[in-house]
C-alpha cells in the first residue's frame, strides 16, 4: 500500500511540474504572439503614414511640374524657372528619402510597386528639367541677342547719400539698411557707409570709421534726435514769409513744406508738434488773402465738417486740394502765354519815382497792393500821407514787417539802388534817408522811444534775458520774463526731462480781451543753482515759447566788465525749454 501511495504521490508531483512547465510555455507563447501582433499593427500604421506622405509629395511634385509648364507657356523670367527647378530637385530628394525608408518595411510584392513609383518620378523629373534647361538657354540667347541689338544701357542705381540735413537722416538710415546692407558684407559696410556721407557727417564718424555700429551710434547722437527734426520743421514753416495773392509758386512751396514736414514728423511719431492749434494758427497767417478767406469760410460755415480742436488734418487736405488746382491751372497745356502772370512786379516801369503800370496790366490786384498801408487804394507807398507822416524808424519797421524793398518800397523786389540825397551812397529810398548828425542827436533817440535811430540797414536786436541752467537730465535754456505770472515749458523739453505732470487747464487772455482755454499739464521742474541745490518751479506745458535763439557775437563784451570772463557771458542757442 505504501508503494502504491508513493507511486501516486510521485505521479502527482510529476504531473504538477509538467503542467506548470506547460503553462509557462503557453504564457510565453501568448506574450510572443501579442508582441508580434503589436509590431505588425505598428508597421501597418507606419506604412499608412508613409503612404499619405508619398501622396502629399507626389502632389507637390505634380504642382511644381504644372508651375514649370505654366511658366514656360507664359514666357516667365528664367530666374522663376530656376527656382521651380530647384524646388523640383528638393521634392524629388524627399521622394527618394521616403522611398528608401519604405523599401526597408515592405515585402517583395510591394517593393516592386515602390521601385516602379520612384522610377516614374525620376523619369518625370528628368523630362521637366531638360525642358526647363532648353527654355532657359533659348531665353538667354534671346536676351543676348537683344543686348547686342540695343545699345542703350540702364544707368546704375545711385547709392543713398547724407549730407548732414537732420530731416534726411531717418530716410537715409532706412534706405541704407534696406537697400545697401543686404548686398554688401560686414567687412565692407563701414567703408561703403562712409562713401555715402557728405563732408560734415563723414567728419563726425571719422574716428570710428572701422566700426559700423559705432558709426551709426555717433550719427544717431548728432542727427537722430527727433526733437531736432521737429524744431527744424517748425522753423522752416515759421521762416516762410506771408504769401501774397497770386504767388502760386511760393504758395505751392509753402504747402510742400507743410506736407513734407508733417510726413517727416509722422514718421518719428511727433506729428502732434505740427498739429497744435498754435502751429495751425501760424500756417493760417502765412496764407494768401484769397485762400485765407476761402479757408475761413470753410471753418466758420454753419455745418462745417472741420473739427475746431484739431484743424490741421482739414487744413492740410484743403491746402493739398489748392495745390492740385494750381498745378492743374499752371500745367503747360492749359496756361495761356498771353495772360500776364499775376503777382509779378517785373511788368512795372519806373519813371521819376512814380511807378507806371503798362496798359492792359492795370488790374484791380495791382491797384489793391500799391500802398503798404492802404490795401486797394490807388496810390503808392511813397505818395501815402500816412507813410510820410511816420518817423523814419517807424517807416523802416513797416517795411521790415511787410517784407517790402528798401529801395522802391514795394513788395517782392530786392533791387538795390543808392539813395542819392546829399550824395548818400547807402541803399535805401529817399524817404528813409537821415543825415549823420540826426543819428547822433540825443533828442531823436528820446523821440524814438529808446531805440537807436541809425541810417543804415542794420537790424536792431533786443537781447532777451536768457540763461543755460543745469537740470537733472542736462540743461534748460531759460528765458527770465519779469512780467510773467506763470512759468512755461515746451513739450519737447518736458519729454526730455522725463517729467511726470498732472492735468491742468490754462486760460489765456490775449490782447483785445479774447480768452482761450488750453488743456495742458503742470510739472515740477527742478533747476540746479550754482551751489548744486535744486530749486523746483511749477511749470505749464505749451507747444512753443519762442522762436529758436540765434547766436550772438559776444566777442569783446567781457572786456567792458571787471572780473567777467567770456565763458560767463555765453548765451544759449537753439530752442528754448
Amino acid at each position: 500500500m505504501q508503494e502504491f501511495y508513493e507511486e501516486a504521490a510521485t505521479t502527482h508531483t510529476q504531473y504538477v511540474n509538467d503542467h506548470t512547465l506547460h503553462e509557462q510555455k503557453r504564457v510565453e507563447e501568448f506574450h510572443k504572439q501579442e508582441s508580434m501582433r503589436l509590431e505588425q499593427e505598428k508597421l501597418r500604421r507606419l506604412l499608412e503614414q508613409f503612404s499619405i506622405k508619398k501622396k502629399s509629395m507626389k502632389t507637390i511634385f505634380d504642382t511644381l511640374v504644372k508651375l514649370a509648364y505654366d511658366a514656360m507657356a507664359s514666357q516667365n523670367a528664367p530666374e522663376a524657372l530656376h527656382k521651380t527647378e530647384r524646388d523640383l530637385d528638393i521634392a524629388l530628394a524627399d521622394c527618394k528619402a521616403l522611398h528608401n525608408t519604405m523599401l526597408e518595411l515592405l515585402d517583395n510584392e510591394d517593393v516592386e510597386k515602390e521601385i516602379e513609383w520612384i522610377r516614374n518620378m525620376h523619369a518625370r523629373n528628368q523630362e521637366i528639367s531638360s525642358r526647363i534647361e532648353a527654355f532657359i538657354s533659348v531665353k538667354i540667347n534671346d536676351t543676348k541677342a537683344k543686348d547686342k541689338s540695343n545699345p542703350l544701357q540702364l544707368e546704375k542705381i545711385k547709392m543713398p547719400s547724407f549730407h548732414g540735413n537732420v530731416r534726411n537722416y531717418p530716410q537715409f538710415k532706412t534706405d541704407f539698411e534696406k537697400q545697401v546692407m543686404p548686398s554688401i558684407n560686414a567687412e565692407n559696410a563701414p567703408y561703403v557707409l562712409q562713401s555715402c556721407l557728405g563732408k560734415e557727417p563723414a567728419d563726425t564718424v571719422k574716428s570710428v570709421d572701422d566700426d559700423i555700429t559705432a558709426m551709426w551710434k555717433r550719427m544717431a547722437e548728432k542727427y537722430g534726435d527727433s526733437a531736432k527734426v521737429a524744431d527744424v520743421v517748425m522753423c522752416a514753416i515759421q521762416n516762410i514769409k506771408p504769401i501774397r495773392e497770386g504767388e502760386n509758386k511760393k504758395f505751392v512751396e509753402f504747402i510742400n513744406v507743410i506736407d513734407d514736414g508733417y510726413r517727416d514728423l509722422r514718421r518719428l511719431g511727433l506729428e502732434k508738434e505740427i498739429t497744435t492749434t498754435s502751429s495751425v494758427s501760424i500756417m493760417e497767417r502765412k496764407l494768401p488773402n484769397d485762400i485765407k478767406r476761402e479757408w475761413a469760410k470753410l471753418v466758420s460755415s454753419e455745418h462745417s465738417p472741420i473739427d475746431k480742436r484739431d484743424k490741421f488734418p482739414s487744413l492740410l487736405r484743403f491746402l493739398l486740394e489748392q495745390k492740385q488746382a494750381i498745378e492743374y491751372e499752371n500745367s503747360e497745356l492749359r496756361s495761356n502765354s498771353n495772360v500776364p502772370v499775376r503777382g509779378s512786379l517785373h511788368y512795372l516801369e519806373k519813371k521819376d519815382d512814380k511807378v507806371v503800370i503798362p496798359e492792359g496790366q492795370s488790374t484791380s490786384r495791382y491797384k489793391r497792393n500799391k500802398c503798404l498801408y492802404h490795401e486797394g487804394d490807388n496810390h503808392w507807398t511813397n505818395e501815402c500821407r500816412l507813410y510820410l507822416s511816420k518817423p523814419i524808424q517807424e517807416r523802416r519797421d513797416t517795411l521790415k514787417e511787410r517784407g517790402a524793398c528798401w529801395s522802391c518800397l514795394k513788395r517782392d523786389c530786392r533791387g538795390k539802388k543808392p539813395c542819392g540825397v546829399n550824395e548818400c551812397n547807402r541803399f535805401h529810398h529817399k524817404t528813409l534817408h537821415e543825415e549823420e548828425q540826426d543819428k547822433k542827436s540825443p533828442t531823436n533817440i528820446v523821440s524814438a522811444s529808446g531805440t537807436a535811430r541809425v541810417c543804415n540797414n542794420e537790424i536792431e536786436t533786443c537781447l532777451l534775458q536768457i540763461q543755460k541752467i543745469p537740470t537733472k537730465n542736462g540743461f534748460a535754456n531759460v528765458l527770465w520774463d519779469t512780467g510773467a505770472s506763470l512759468c512755461f515749458i515746451t513739450n519737447a523739453k518736458a519729454r526730455a526731462e522725463n517729467l511726470k505732470g498732472i492735468k491742468a487747464q490754462l486760460s489765456i487772455i490775449k490782447v483785445g480781451g479774447e480768452s482761450e482755454t488750453v488743456d495742458t499739464f503742470k510739472y515740477k521742474l527742478p533747476l540746479i543753482d550754482k551751489q548744486g541745490k535744486a530749486i523746483v518751479f511749477d511749470v505749464y506745458r505749451i507747444d512753443k515759447i519762442t522762436s529758436p535763439i540765434p547766436s550772438i557775437d559776444i566777442q569783446g563784451i567781457s572786456k567792458l566788465f571787471k572780473d567777467v570772463h567770456e565763458e560767463d557771458l555765453i548765451r544759449p542757442t537753439a530752442g528754448r525749454g
Binding site: 500500500m1 502504491f4 501511495y5 501516486a8 505521479t11 504538477v16 503542467h19
Partner: protein, 70 residues
Amino acid sequence: MAEEAKREEAKGIRTSAKARFTRKRNEFFKSVDENKGMEAVKRTFADLHEAWNIVEGKHDIYMIHLVEDE
C-alpha cells in the same frame, strides 16, 4: 473470543479502508491518464491522500489488536 471478534472487526474496517484507498487511487490515475486538468488531479490526489491516512490509522488499530492476542 471477544478479543478475536474485535480483531476481526478491526481487520474488516482496515479492509474497507484499503478498498476505499484503492478506489481513490484508481480515480487519481484515471484523472492523470485522461489529463483532466490540474484542478481534477489535485482534487483526486487530495482524496487519495486522505484515504491513505485512513488506511494507516485503521492498520495501526488492527495491529494493536493483533499484538494483544499474542
